[in-house]
Symmetry: D2
Subunit: 483 residues, 4 copies
């Protein structure tokens, strides 16, 4: 359920949070971001507004390391706040790239934070620069501010609508101006955003687990294409964009979202168990025991074991003290890598035919090491079962994916993958099986109910910038060290 930057996973790049009208705006935002930490651990930022000035704090590292210091909380005055936690690196890792971003317009200030990725950001950036805009970051989010700055509408909400209307890609956005808290999801609703309520204060958050931690009530999802504007007079809902079919990211169910979140009406833990059951039906195995690759494979493994009538055992023990700074000391022992985080429990494995359940395979390098470790612990057979279809295409909607050619499934058949990771059998869930597990009869291939581009290569939006080499896209002429 927790991500580790060294592991071989896809990573959600951001979580967002906003609150309007609560005396503890900053500490509540801190808690909310802490609950969203699985969506990004590299850096975080909070901007508050106290009716007169905006206060910003941006720090590298975990929320709990920086934002819980009393001095930091004390500087974040005011009853309105937005916050952002990020995995990394649309833009470099400089402090100037840590969101929320702030701009001072002639009519007042505006701060914005963003989960997703804008697929025509570079094109817009170049056009804005030609018109005289000076960018301070390399983040796609800053484009929104410059579009607003040069828009002619008098109201900030209108200028934001104008700006968002020119974007393509995935975006779930929170922003605050002198009078408003604004939340918005892109027309396809690719990334999640939910609405909550705490003692009359409105909350926006990427996932419901950020409501739970502060005891807030879950009100509803912000709808795809909806823009909510919260003021002292309450919430109003706008539909400023041309309607498009909902295409929620199905990988949020597979891996990104926290198991205790309610996403689009579904409990993630339940869905993952259902995925495991579906996987057991599609890809049974003659085996003695079902073992999850912890922690992300655990719910699916429980479902698999229940469906298959096999015992579920914690055969791989995870070391939770692996911080982000753990570098394997000394060249001679670099190959021990995976053991820093996992150890096979020999007595549970020895002499047994093992079903190993994981959520996905990206590069395959970690799978290879875990299989080797399980074999060395005495497994007589290893049957790998993956709780999603093969990951074959890059995501351009705010997920950190390796280049396409590094995705194992993009260059190998399932049989070759089985050889590569050295398992006896390897089975993936089918795309229809995945759709079934999340409650659809099957995938509608003409109008897919979800964004499943990482499995199918079918992208719901244009990808204007991606004609360029991806590396070039975010290049700035300026290189500056992080701190």
């Amino acid at each position: 359920m927790a991500h580790d930057p060294s592991d071989d996973k896809l990573h959600e790049e951001c979580g967002v949070f906003g609150i309007f009208g609560h005396d503890d705006a900053a500490p509540l935002t801190t808690l909310g971001l802490h609950a969203l930490q699985h969506r990004g651990q590299e850096a975080a930022g909070i901007v508050t507004f106290d009716g007169e000035r905006y206060y910003a704090e941006r720090h590298h590292g975990l929320i709990g390391d920086s934002f819980t210091r009393q001095s930091v909380i004390d500087r974040l005055k005011g009853s309105r706040a937005i916050g952002h936690t990020r995995y990394s690196t649309t833009g470099g890792d400089e402090v100037r790239n840590i969101q929320p971003f702030f701009a001072e317009f002639s009519g007042g200030g505006f701060a914005v934070a963003h989960n997703g990725n804008i697929t025509n950001a570079l094109t817009l950036r170049r056009q804005l620069q030609r018109e005289g805009a000076i960018f301070q970051s390399t983040s796609d989010t800053e484009v929104i501010l410059h579009l607003m700055a040069t828009a002619s509408e008098p109201s900030f909400a209108d200028r934001l609508v104008n700006a968002l209307g020119r974007l393509e890609g995935a975006f779930s956005i929170v922003g605050i101006s002198n009078k408003k808290l604004i939340g918005c999801r892109d027309p396809h609703g690719i990334r999640p955003l939910v609405l909550g309520d705490l003692d009359g204060a409105w909350i926006l958050a990427s996932e419901t687990c950020a409501l739970d931690i502060i005891g807030a009530r879950f009100v509803r999802d912000v709808e795809p294409g909806e823009l909510v504007v919260i003021t002292d007079d309450g919430l109003s809902s706008l539909r400023p964009f041309e309607p498009r079919p909902s295409r929620f990211c199905i990988f949020e169910y597979v891996y990104f979202a926290r198991p205790d979140s309610i996403v689009e009406g579904n409990n993630v833990y339940d869905l993952r168990k259902a995925i495991g059951r579906e996987l057991a039906s599609e890809q049974p195995a003659e085996a003695d025991v079902v073992i999850p690759v912890p922690d992300s494979g655990t719910p699916a493994a429980i479902g698999y074991a229940q469906q298959a009538g096999l015992p579920f055992e914690l055969g791989i023990i995870r070391n939770h003290y692996v911080g982000r700074t753990f570098i394997q000391p000394g060249d001679a022992i670099r190959h021990m890598g995976v053991k820093l985080k996992h150890n096979a429990n020999r007595r549970t494995i020895e002499g047994r035919r093992v079903v190993l359940v994981d959520d996905s395979i990206v590069r395959g390098t970690t799978s290879q090491k875990i299989v080797q470790m399980v074999r060395e612990a005495g497994a007589t057979q290893v049957h790998m079962r993956i709780a999603s279809p093969p990951t074959r295409s890059s995501c351009f909607y705010g997920v950190d994916t390796p280049e396409r050619r590094k995705l194992l499934a993009s260059r190998m058949s399932v049989d070759d993958m089985a050889d590569f990771i050295r398992v006896d059998t390897l089975g993936f869930l089918s795309i229809d099986g995945l759709y079934r597990a999340v409650g659809e009869a099957r995938r509608d291939n003409d109008a897919p109910q979800f964004c499943d581009a990482c499995f199918t290569g079918q992208y719901p939006t244009q990808l204007t910038d991606m004609d360029d080499d991806r590396k070039v896209r975010h290049l700035s002429l300026l290189a500056e060290a992080g701190s």
Copy 2:
């Protein structure tokens, strides 16, 4: 499986590691200590010897934060090393109290690290001071060095035997001198110590998981009362102390040891599942679902569920990003405490009768909050099942226990405890049930097979210093800040 310093658990105070004759002595010790991190997260130290000089590094914090820097590893030259990781605080948290300790005798150097607690250390310290010894730390371990310094035997091993012979309490010790790596367990063998082998290099470690991480072979336990001396000529085993009955700490099985370790021939995960099964037999419950308090209650919960024929579900989600520095920001929201680390998964709990399985209850404060959280998530009944007997007495053998009067079970009946933590029913495993689960027919009350003083108040050794007020014991006249 992981400890958290803020939680309401007993905490092992130390893990030790030693290696003799490997070119990568320092990085291997780093990895070994990393695997023993659950035995102590406050500070760690490594001393190496390169045939000429000793090299020491001592740092606060996790192994992975300090000891993985190349500069640190590079300073730790030589093919022999000992290391120590500690939870805290026999002695204060100054760097001078971080083990291993080193002393330069007229015949050469000696470094020592220690897991356990010496129950006559203060008495010996005062006597040594009267004889002219100057102590640099407030740790009980330094007593060993001064006893050695003033001993008259020519060999270091003999001086160590002389010194250890004057100690009471629990100690598993590793030491290096100019020629030797030495390991020793106290006559009762209260704390664990195992022997391993990696490519011909001897290893000593608190648990086998520290062998696994470096790919070393588990050779055997060091026996209670055994002192092993490793030189270039190989290993020799001494039995220098008067034999005493083995009294291994049974709480190592319940909570301290890592589930993947083999302790005294038993796999800890298997034992914990057996404990869960025994608990289900002794303390059944009319319920719909078995939910562990993660992560320490998980193996017992799996055993309980299997025995009881109830579904096992991860109904409480743990946030792994709670670092040691997370302070709850802001006074107004301090009561949210437990939610920083845990969140109930409402959909798994709502409308159900829940069996909550945890390993032990210390103060009861965390149990209270978790039960409340589970109730708020909609559980119709909560049946708490504890995988050990009530914890009624302090440990004086190297475990951080609160004062006796703060132990909930020392001042309440089980019924009162049930009221206090607000559960429908509360059931503990019996002491005989615990003994059965770990392979004995029952507890031999005249000569108990384990140290179970925390449950029974029967201490296997004298407690000379404990007649004094415990606070006074470690007082030094000098107060110096940590860093």
Copy 3:
């Protein structure tokens, strides 16, 4: 000769440096800024260009603390560089306010650093914001970049000319673009800027001492109103502004510049001695010994002593270990302040009539304490002589001056000032005496040869922003902590 931020002095706010075409551009810039450290000790920045990318480093503190680390130097690639060191606080102390500033235009990058102050920056800023510009700092220097970004000329040099043409105030500027190093002084030439040569590489620097340290040859001053453009093809000189009379800051001679610098053809040390001689002629004293207030009063004191035929003695010893972080510990002893930095040498003072020579009096608080210290050391009489006229008006051209009403001379007669600082006699140099000492026959009151506004209140430029309250001028809606 060195400034201390705690003392009661006016402080130059900036020093600039630039180099074009040298393999060691970054380390040479570091050395140059080190030599200019007396012009600003709060923070420093360097931007280099390697033909492809720009590299920036910005750090708080002294050059020697940050920029001498090999890792910092290594990141600053390329053979062209500009650097900036600053005293403080046009704009706040955030990293984002540390110069040089960089902007990426559609035609390439441009970095700029600035010594001086733009007196219509706020007015321009508001206008630019209305047109859609987003400011990232609160510094007046950023205005230049936005004026360039929105200018329509194709060449960067032309856009810079356009931008500078809209400024009022004092500015000595260095900038680099993809092809050029540019230097410019405002039409009055209020702040200094010199041109040097090192092995064929062109250098720009605030003072010649920055040439000396790297062994560069002093070529000439950049002229008031001159803009020099250095490319691979050499240097070309432009005169893009309407000509104005030269009004070099006379206080550079009195205090700001380093004594070993050649400023506008004059050696500063020589001028200060000449000032001292003039002071002795205008303001003689019946006394036994001449003692400087170290270090800034020393050259004038030497001149005074020579002219007066009195012995010169170091009667006040300066403690050079007073770093910027020395806070007087403990409330009870706060009044000892001045002794942290100075101690009277009793044997030199006792029983004597002392002439104390200092360069200027700002608030008078330090003078008061030094006089008291000299009296306590046994001086029978204290005759204070000041090597400049009374400082009566604020500087708006890049010097940190207290508000006008805090300037002692703005609210007291010389006699009252003598009473306030408790001297027997107090004498200032006359404005004409100062002009004579620096080589003029007398001050031309219709067209003063220098900017002497701090003494006379006659400002050479418009002060558009200063109609507003000074505090308001730099207010941003955003507050963000420094690091």
Copy 4:
């Protein structure tokens, strides 16, 4: 007047301070150590006693960087304190080697700080180790504590006398026990120690400048061989050692002491001017101007100029921003070294015959560079005059001297030295001239009035340890990084 660790000077290794009976003991000690900073800049420590416990703080770096933080001062409770500042490195630079040292004896605590060097420390250390002592540092000062610990006298003062009676070498010591503040100078009184009074509180300090800074009254020097014991009942003076002739370090006058200190009844600044006058008489020069090598050569240069009737000019400007961390960036420009700290003022030097006055020549490397710089600035002749005799022998009494063979004067004649540093003429003060300047008729060669071993090689004490190679003397078996 200030030392710089990178320069080619001898360096005093320590300053000490003690106070008894003042509520502000810790901040006053901080101020006192700040005034003694020229005696050691590497690290400092303070130990206080509040009647019950001792409180210690030890930090690397300047007093003003660490000891002025309120949190540090607040931890140092009590009305009695001793402090120590050190240049470096008898013993390594680990925190454990920072004085004062503390030991807890069976009868109470004792803390001690020491200026000087014990020339039989290693011999004593080995003997104590054989008897069972465990050393925690590599400092000679710790020997004193172990000698006290194993002494049999009941009173701490008596045990200290016993311990000191076994030492050879130079020591000025301050110590506190539960009841006393103790100060002592070795029988020859090689290092200084003075007694002061502040509002009834007794003060001990290395120099009177540490009294001046806190406004304390100078009472008298502690006499050679005197031990003063200060209790609540007042001061008592003991003469526990066999009397020996006074041999105060004459180099304290030449360079070590601060010019404003009164040392053995003499004002250091006055003595240095007298030395300069004597030098002018012995070593006149046909020249136009006298220029000091700042800052240490300045008083002698003033004396020289006055005696010779030549103008005194500040022809070399010192950059005071050279911190200890300034590393010359980049290999290519490493030869610029000296210019980081000094710059010749060309206009003062050009076309002139210059007398350069410095206090001493150690290795000659800096002199060489300064002469070159003065020549490049256009001096037609350079006449170097040194305000002391040639430094030919190492100091073993607490001064950091290079090995004898690195002392330029130990391997070259004066003529060869003149060639080496490339001056037209080079003149040193004679040893009798130095004695005359400090008030003696001449040096009594049979019973010299001062320790002048660095000039004459005549050491006033035995040097037991120095038969060994100096490197070996301080070697410990343990190497541990500084922080």
